[in-house]
């Protein structure tokens, strides 16, 4: 670790890329609340997202209580259950994962890893967070209005989302629309920043092909989000008109619990097309940053260059592009023109190829590496395992025929939790263990981290793997209870109880994680500037934690890619990105020591 900083570093000439005016406030409020420093905004995003995520976690436990031990808790009636389902899904997908990966990690890492002082538009960036916070508060408010939060499922399909028979059709759904609109507006402000910063504010020498994969993942995810969220916005605006102004975009002639409605001719399928045009890219908006971050964690802790970097970059881009032409695989049995099935099954399975390549390259990165089993590495390997499982079950659901019996069963629930809940969350944890030393200057406790990892990893597998078998057996999802369904074996109830117990354990072990976060902040081991001996720029800052402006007097200049680990002939097993070729010390020990 001591070798850090010894090499002579050539800095970009002052002013060349460094023309950003930073607002340096003096007051506490200005520094930590109304801050325009991307790092502070990142932490604000992170704390808010995790707080709201905890609400969603509690909701999931309530659902599991009902499923595992039906008719035991008088708190949970069918309406509440559907509200839990809906809010859990929406919070986890949009307000937790999207905000955490793009708002928190994006804000923290993009300027640092690109070698920029801050985001391109700091004021807009601050505004983005406050919009996000408002969106979260509006969403929370919907629990407390008469009728409660909406229970339409996170997909908010019309007609039921705004028709009687569904909970929360008065205030709840309106607040959901409002919250999503505010979220989208706020995200657009943040997203503009992320994209422009990556495109425009990279430091000297940081070519596109030298960007760490974390940045590639976050960048492409942001591009996708910027293009996809408008679909959701249009859809909810139109539904709002249907609800309040009596238009019939989505609402057909129908009955509301026996009473004829005033609508005519609208098409519920139109909504589904718009929703999934957003909804499917959303999956990758969550997945791509995870892909990127996990690549960097693997490379750093395996002391090995990422395998097939160019392939990895292009795979991210191809996945991003293809994910816009697969949306209707969510609608194979929606009653749409069945001939679309041929097209969308094909595009969907094609997307499996670049995804598989990414998995191979992760494993091949470990291959012939020198793997340090640190806590971030544990989470990264946990991610690979979980993602392989979830990716493969996607091949069932993407293949139109196989989807028919499995759609709307617990197979789907198991699949998407593996692939876009557990897998990204494992990356989130890995990333927090990885970057916490830079954010706070202290290491997280290893033992607590390992306890957290093992219980989370094994526990989530115990929850979600069996769900696939419930799906095979045809157990439908979004059911409050199964009563006496003739084809569902009684043993399924025992399985449900088991899954619920596992879920409670996993939820509880998160307390260990939070304890670790707080304790280590005060008592953790001093981390030093570069505890993992990593190459990327955020580890080469003058101060740890980095100050406002990130780098010292001058911005770093980049000479190499982010993956110079174990470079033959070099004395140290890693070469920071800003180390000039002439500063690399030659390996003076016995030649041929490398294996």
């Amino acid at each position: 670790m001591a070798e850090h900083g010894q090499h002579s570093v050539q800095h970009a000439a002052a002013g060349e890329f460094d023309n950003m005016e930073l607002v340096h406030p003096k007051t506490f409020l200005g520094k930590y609340v109304w801050s325009q420093d991307a790092k502070v905004i990142a932490i604000q995003y992170g704390v808010t997202a995790i707080a709201i995520g905890l609400v969603a976690l509690v909701l999931s436990i309530l659902m599991r209580l009902q499923l595992g031990f039906p008719n035991t808790f008088s708190l949970i009636d069918p309406a509440s259950y559907l509200q839990y389902v809906t809010m859990h899904g929406m919070i986890m997908v949009v307000y937790l994962l999207t905000a955490l990966f793009l708002g928190a990690f994006g804000n923290y890492l993009i300027p640092l890893m690109c070698g920029a002082r801050d985001m391109a538009f700091p004021y807009l960036n601050m505004l983005s967070y406050w919009f996000y916070l408002a969106a979260v508060l509006i969403l929370m408010a919907s629990f407390f209005v008469p009728g409660g939060a909406t229970g339409a499922g996170w997909t908010l399909y019309p007609p039921q989302a705004i028709s009687p028979g569904t909970p929360g059709i008065d205030g709840g759904i309106l607040l959901m629309f409002a919250s999503l609109s505010v979220f989208i507006a706020g995200f657009t402000m943040g997203g503009l920043n992320y994209v422009v910063t990556v495109l425009q504010a990279r430091t000297r020498g940081m070519t596109l092909m030298r960007l760490p994969l974390t940045i590639w993942g976050i960048f492409m995810a942001t591009v996708m989000a910027l293009l996809a969220f408008p679909a959701l916005l249009v859809a909810i605006l139109m539904m709002l008109c249907d609800m309040l102004l009596g238009t019939s975009f989505f609402m057909p002639e129908m009955l509301n619990l026996g009473e004829p409605s005033a609508h005519e001719g609208g098409s519920p399928l139109l909504y589904q097309h718009l929703f999934w045009f957003f909804g499917h890219p959303e999956v990758y908006i969550v997945a791509l940053p995870a892909f990127g971050i996990v690549s960097d964690i693997l490379a750093t802790h395996a002391r090995k260059n990422i395998f097939g970097y160019r392939m990895m970059v292009w795979a991210i881009i191809i996945i991003a592009v293809l994910s816009f032409v697969v949306w209707a695989h969510h609608m194979f049995i929606s009653g749409m023109n069945p001939y679309f099935g041929f097209l969308f099954a094909t595009t969907t399975l094609i997307i499996a190829v670049p995804t598989a390549i990414k998995v191979y390259n992760w494993v091949l990165t470990l291959w012939r590496g020198n793997i340090r089993m640190t806590v971030p590495m544990l989470f990264a390997i946990g991610f690979i395992f979980t993602f392989v499982n979830g990716g493969l079950s996607g091949l069932f659901l993407g293949n139109v025929t196989v989807d028919v019996p499995l759609a709307d069963t617990y197979f789907v629930v198991g699949h998407f939790h593996m692939v876009m809940a557990v897998a990204p969350v494992l990356v989130v944890f890995g990333a927090i263990y990885h970057w916490y030393p830079k954010i706070t200057g202290r290491m997280l406790d290893d033992t607590l981290g390992k306890i957290h990892f093992w219980v989370t990893f094994l526990g989530t597998y115990a929850i979600f793997y069996p769900m696939h078998f419930m799906g095979f057996a045809g157990v439908p999802r979004r059911y409050y209870g199964y009563g006496e369904t003739s084809y569902i074996p009684d043993s399924m109830q025992a399985l449900n109880a088991f899954m619920s117990v596992a879920a409670i354990i996993v939820a509880l072990v998160q307390l260990v994680f939070f304890y670790n976060l707080v304790r280590s902040y005060f008592h953790g081991r001093e981390a030093g500037p570069n505890p993992w001996q990593a190459t990327t720029l955020e580890w080469q800052t003058e101060h740890t934690p980095p100050r406002h402006g990130n780098f010292g007097a001058e911005l770093p200049v980049v000479y190499r890619w982010a993956y110079d680990y174990g470079v033959p002939g070099a004395k140290h097993d890693f070469l920071p990105q800003n180390m000039p070729p002439e500063a690399v010390e030659a390996d003076d020990t016995v030649p041929g020591r490398r294996s």
């Binding site: 997203g191 994209v195 000297r204 916005l233 102004l245 019939s248 045009f277 070729p581």
Partner: protein, 229 residues
């Protein structure tokens, strides 16, 4: 399928981006270290935007892409709903819209002149351009509101037919974007009022002008769509 409209837009966007990236990555061997400023592609040039692409300009370009996505998707929805339904009664587009269109064109032209004036440091022309541009834009929005009122009082209500509903939705979305533009416009005006030099507001006037041209093109497309269907 009507989603094609949005897909074509995305395809073009992605093709441009992919092509740009490709031109900067083909033949590049990322693992080779190189001194900065060595003049090779891996050095300074690799994917760095040209100097003219300042952050605000890039920001505007990205925002325009987002707005295009929004309008393209709404147009897709329009065409899809029209295709799916049997209750579509085309709307007789009010003649007033032609006048409104003329206003928006003039507004766009005036802002273009304002931008030019700002570049040449001509304060009076800048004032004139900004005021005339904003005035025509406000006239456009009022004209749209008048058209709404005409339709509404003529019994062509929002809820009566999906064609009407889409007319209101599309014009409202477009007007909201213009109002956002007017907010930026009023800020430039305010800064001028406070004594800012033309050079100081050049950037924001330029962004306004570009944004107005974009919204003019969007309006042109929406108007054509309304006329044709």
């Amino acid at each position: 399928m009507s989603m094609t409209v949005s897909l074509v837009f995305l395809a073009v966007l992605m093709a441009v981006f992919g092509g740009w990236l490709f031109s900067h990555s083909v033949g590049v061997r990322p693992w080779e270290a190189q001194a900065a400023g060595s003049g090779q592609r891996q050095g300074l040039g690799g994917g760095q935007l040209p100097a003219a692409a300042t952050a605000p300009r890039v920001g505007l370009a990205v925002f325009l892409a987002v707005a295009t996505s929004l309008f393209a998707l709404t147009v897709s929805a329009y065409l899809m709903r029209q295709e799916m339904a049997h209750d579509w009664r085309p709307l007789a587009v009010p003649g007033l819209l032609w006048w409104n269109t003329a206003c928006l064109v003039l507004g766009s032209v005036a802002l273009q002149l304002a931008w030019q004036a700002a570049r040449r440091d001509q304060l009076p022309r800048l004032w004139r351009g900004l005021l005339v541009g904003g005035g025509f834009t406000i006239a456009f929005i009022l004209g749209q509101a008048l058209a709404w009122w005409q339709l509404q009082s003529g019994g062509i209500t929002l809820a009566a037919n999906p064609a009407n509903a889409f007319f209101f939705l599309l014009t409202a979305l477009h007007a909201v974007h213009l109002l956002g533009g007017l907010f930026a416009w009023s800020r430039s005006l305010f800064r001028l009022q406070q004594g800012a030099t033309p050079a100081a507001v050049r950037q924001s006037v330029e962004l306004c002008a570009l944004y107005w041209h974009f919204l003019l093109v969007v309006w042109g497309i929406l108007f054509a769509l309304l006329l044709m269907t």
